[in-house]
Symmetry: D2
Subunit: 383 residues, 4 copies
């Protein structure tokens, strides 16, 4: 049972075999608050790899499957079958399993971006889930307590009308041609598996989603300049975008995989008529908030704060004891478990949805189109 | 099974009932890497509270016990009985259960400080564990990857001979008289349950242990000035200590619970003939290292580093994605699981031991004695 | 005499009367290294204000003038007349005096931006200075030692070919409608005096110049989105620009006067194939430099560094003792004094020139044009 | 004239010849606000060096003297003689000139520590200055605007009763045996010239003075552990001191010249019943202030603050434009000029006095005595 006396959700996994990074992260996230029990998996499209991976992490061999279709069918037929599934495959293998599981009435937890093409995304959005199956997109940065607090601050009017949004996600790990032996790099730089975008899809969407999550502003149009700096690379590795929001706010988004000295430098800054805030992922337990004409204040996770309600922020340990990436990821998982169990009404609006996923792919598509059109301002609905 | 295909250890817990902070932390730590399965508990000395707590977290009622003695006896008799137990009670209830379980051949994971009296500590050290039962003291800060790296840097000679050690652990949460309703504060400020010390035992020992862990220096003597600032408080809430190490190095230790603006500001700085380093818990994914005459460098967890071996540091996710307190805690748990399973030889020297626990209580006792003697330099062996 | 046994330059000032900010700064800058002696001034276009201001700062009344034309004429005729003049008036009163003094053979030190219109800038560039009179534009941020070092690092090839340049200059002081009584705000938000631009001219040019100074990259084109957020404001107060450099590098520039929590947050980040660097004005004694695959290093002003030669950086005090804005400003002054005295050959390439000033106004003009054309990529030579 | 229309003070200098660091700093400080005119000097005890130095910085040869005695006598006799003198010699040559000039009715600005022996300090305190000559000790860190604000915050009661004071001043420049060619290092490590102390006198007194200046607390006793780590060094290079203040507050002071990675890391932290603050010299334009139970706030120099009056803080430029070491030094000079001119009543209590200097030497002496007595708590009045 979970820490709160709630029953655990039976979980399956698609992808995440030996050597995969994000599958491992999803498993920790599912475990941390004890809201799930991983009982089945199709860990690889190669059956023997799937079997071996399942064995390594202790899955009953009879529930380690060679394909996600098989898993969906057999698990749906079991009385103790999985209630939810985590999809942690490359981008081009999200839509397929998501559709199958939703139609089997199994809740879906899917890594981002939603799909590798806009057609896939829109088709997936049209799927009718059986038995009210729910969908969670793991834009994990929205799970950080202070990101939740930032959203609440904006919503409360503490910043006044928003004017300027600066968001960025610089990395340096693809500054050189990708090592063919690096599984993470290989599929991310292969347009067939990642989709048309490189940095724009892998980290640009995270940055975009974070800005949207915190500000609540709707996007009017984007003007993009995407670049591929590394010789031979087939997808973008640096993204410059100007943003116009409905209501008049303006923004800038920078994502890069070729910026030496940056590991995972996701940063958001939001400025309104009355106040501004800023937050960085590499020290996520701090957030700056400054009211115009007053000294800057530093909010800390679990610190001297009053809103939003601590429950929605899922603060596990006292302020000053750092929480990190895995805890934020786990918060999405545990709050989605509450949604599944029917007592997560309060959290549902905080959890990235299928619609968010479609918008993310529209953002990618519109940005690529704008860049090809020499920076033409492009609406998401234009693509 | 664990993420590495290893079997899970059957775990029990003493203390940690509803509302307890550190029991909750131990449970997450035991779960994060999937190396343990919590199957039994004596969660409270009040049987009905123990039962209710066990029920909330999903323990089989037949394995929720009313006392740790009962649990030790019955679990030792089961073929599927617990192999290890976590002791997460107030300080004065560490020695009792630790002795019982060690003598029952059950491995012990015990919160710090080891005991509330030096007599208890030394008696516990004299216990003969049955069937090779092992002991882990959860000085959790030693589990941070960069703390491990700091230790390795010192051991490698990169700093040269150590001259100066500055360690501190300021907090502010006891700046006012403790709220009687705050369970955490209540026992920590009650000399009967915490031992003679207040801040010295609760956080001073952490700071002391961290300095010892990283530098490997043995303590020659301490000169202490302990103070109780809050009216009516019966234990110290501010600790000033000068340290002399064998071989000539000098140090200072400051621990405080009355320093407004500090949440859990554990910080260690070490200076040798050739280089210096510094690390802070509130941003634990960074460590400064500066060679004399060169620019300062910033090491990051999982970043561009080569030593010590990543395995010993238990780096789970890429650099720039922050890990925190729970991950460090979990690393002690998962490496102790390897020790229990017989494949943790490489980690054993890194895990805080019963001997470290005895030294910690000696440190507390010697510091209190020195302070009473107006700062007289006092050896740990003098008490 | 200066600290180095060199004779002091006789200096005059245009503008900078009582209550003016930047004139006061120029005076301190001229004095700090003792390379100038202020002996004359036309401190205001209102003669009585000029007289009063001159009296307050100890100028001989016979050399306090009612107009810059009068000053140029009379001083040029004196055997002990001024050798150089500082022009510290609003933007629209730069071109006039600059022309007059250059044609009188008096060296000119002029605040930025060069002029309020491009026509003025180009006309000024066509002026033939008498007797080799030199020109200095006070893009003062280029005087910071670490900015000099950043330039040298790029020039040395330490970063490899530059790919990405991120520069920004956020402020918050104009978040509300300008107080009519604030002299600084009044002329800066008046298009007649500041030129067509607001933030773009006041701080955007500083950011642009800094990026150009450090990287040496030539600009290919700009795509801008300028905005005026404060009701009734006639000039831009937020500037978003994407940059394309010759040779393929890309950049972003953000300047804002409506970003609460930012005082003078000038920041430059440069990323090349081999390394990256970043520097912020609000802590200008530190600069990050990170080689790909190595830990980040922190260079400090006057610290453990070897290049460029300390002389060109004008390091006055040991590392760890902070220098600031006034010292950087003073370095431009003192190195220009060397140029005037004929022994500044080494520094001349480091000092912002009239050509830099023309380019700055082209940048302003092109950005405004691009913004009006909905972000059309615009070359500086197109305007 | 100064920037405020006040007449300039005629200044002389003792010491500060070519190659001297602190004399150069004093000259810049005297010049920055234009409150002084340097017109005479005895720059070295070797007459030819004095002459050469005077020539280099533009002093009339007839007013460049071979000894301070000669300078005092001749300048006192001139109608346009110096009104004030800066003493910037090694510690053992402070008392001599200070006495002579005070008795000649010339105001004295003296570098710290006051003298190299306590006897000298007390003798100097007994001198009767002629014609009301004043004395300024350049504990320059007290000139930082935020240090002034910290003092005001404490005095206002914003922190409540002070409990804990942590002050430190680590450096690394003497980690190796001093280069005999380094003039700064040579006299500082020579007990004859520096006095009995090394780090304790050079930087320990600065740290002590800063703590006293900000808190206003009077010292009850010190318990010290001084160490000399570098082989062959005759004075201490690492200082550990526990402090007891009258009224019950406790403190720690650490000063070190052998801490690699520290340039001039002066830092002060003060904790009271209601709030805490901290300030570091290496980024002196920021100060943390945290009220118990509220988020930390960051005060900036010239930022959104209201007290103390800006005038006493001598804020020259807007917040976010950094000021540094030279500006703080200059503030002592310019406010002392006001004292000399009779309009500095408001600043007088802020300027380090002869009495502060005597206390500083008592602090040095008591600390050395305590360290020799194995850390015995020692009152300043005991030495």
């Amino acid at each position: 049972m979970s820490e709160n006396g709630k029953r655990r959700i039976r979980l399956g996994m698609v992808g995440g075999g030996t050597g995969a990074f994000i599958g491992y992260v999803h498993r920790i996230a599912s475990r941390l608050d004890n809201d799930y029990e991983l009982v089945a998996g199709a860990f690889s499209s190669r059956p023997e790899v799937s079997r071996e991976s399942g064995k390594n992490i202790g899955i009953d061999p009879s529930r380690t499957y060679g394909s996600y279709e098989e898993m969906a069918k057999k698990e749906a037929a079991r009385p103790d079958g999985i209630e939810a599934v985590s999809i942690v495959t490359p981008n081009n293998v999200h839509a397929g399993p998501a559709k199958v599981f939703l139609e089997a009435g199994i809740h879906v937890i899917c890594d981002k971006p939603l799909t590798s093409t806009l057609a896939d995304a829109r088709a997936l959005a049209a799927v009718k889930p059986a038995r009210g199956a729910k969908f969670l997109l793991t834009h994990n940065y929205t799970g950080y307590p202070l990101v939740r607090q930032a959203r609440e601050l904006v919503a409360s009017g503490a910043l006044g009308k928003i004017r300027v949004v600066q968001v960025e996600y610089p990395q340096d790990w693809l500054s050189l041609p990708a090592d063919p032996g690096n599984k993470q790099a290989a599929w991310r730089t292969d347009p067939k598996r990642s989709g048309a975008g490189g940095a724009i899809g892998d980290i640009g969407t995270h940055a975009y989603n974070l800005a949207r999550f915190v500000t609540g502003l709707k996007t009017a149009a984007v003007s993009a300049d995407l670049q591929s700096f590394v010789k031979g690379r087939k997808v973008d590795d640096n993204v410059h975008i100007m943003l116009r929001f409905q209501g008049g706010a303006r923004g800038m988004l920078w994502a890069s995989q070729v910026a030496p000295g940056n590991e995972n430098g996701l940063q958001l800054r939001v400025y309104g008529e009355k106040a501004g805030l800023s937050w960085r992922q590499d020290n996520p337990n701090q957030m700056w908030f400054t009211e115009l004409g007053k000294p800057a204040t530093l909010f800390t996770r679990g610190g001297a704060i009053s809103q939003p309600p601590a429950a929605s922020m899922n603060v596990r340990i006292p302020g000053g004891h750092p929480e990190g990436y895995l805890e934020a990821f786990a918060t999405l998982y545990s709050q989605f478990a509450d949604v599944i169990r029917g007592d997560g009404k309060a959290y549902a609006p905080l959890l990235p949805s299928l619609a968010d996923g479609v918008e993310g792919v529209e953002f990618i598509t519109a940005s690529i189109a704008s860049s090809k059109a020499d920076g033409k301002w492009t609406k998401l609905s234009d693509v």
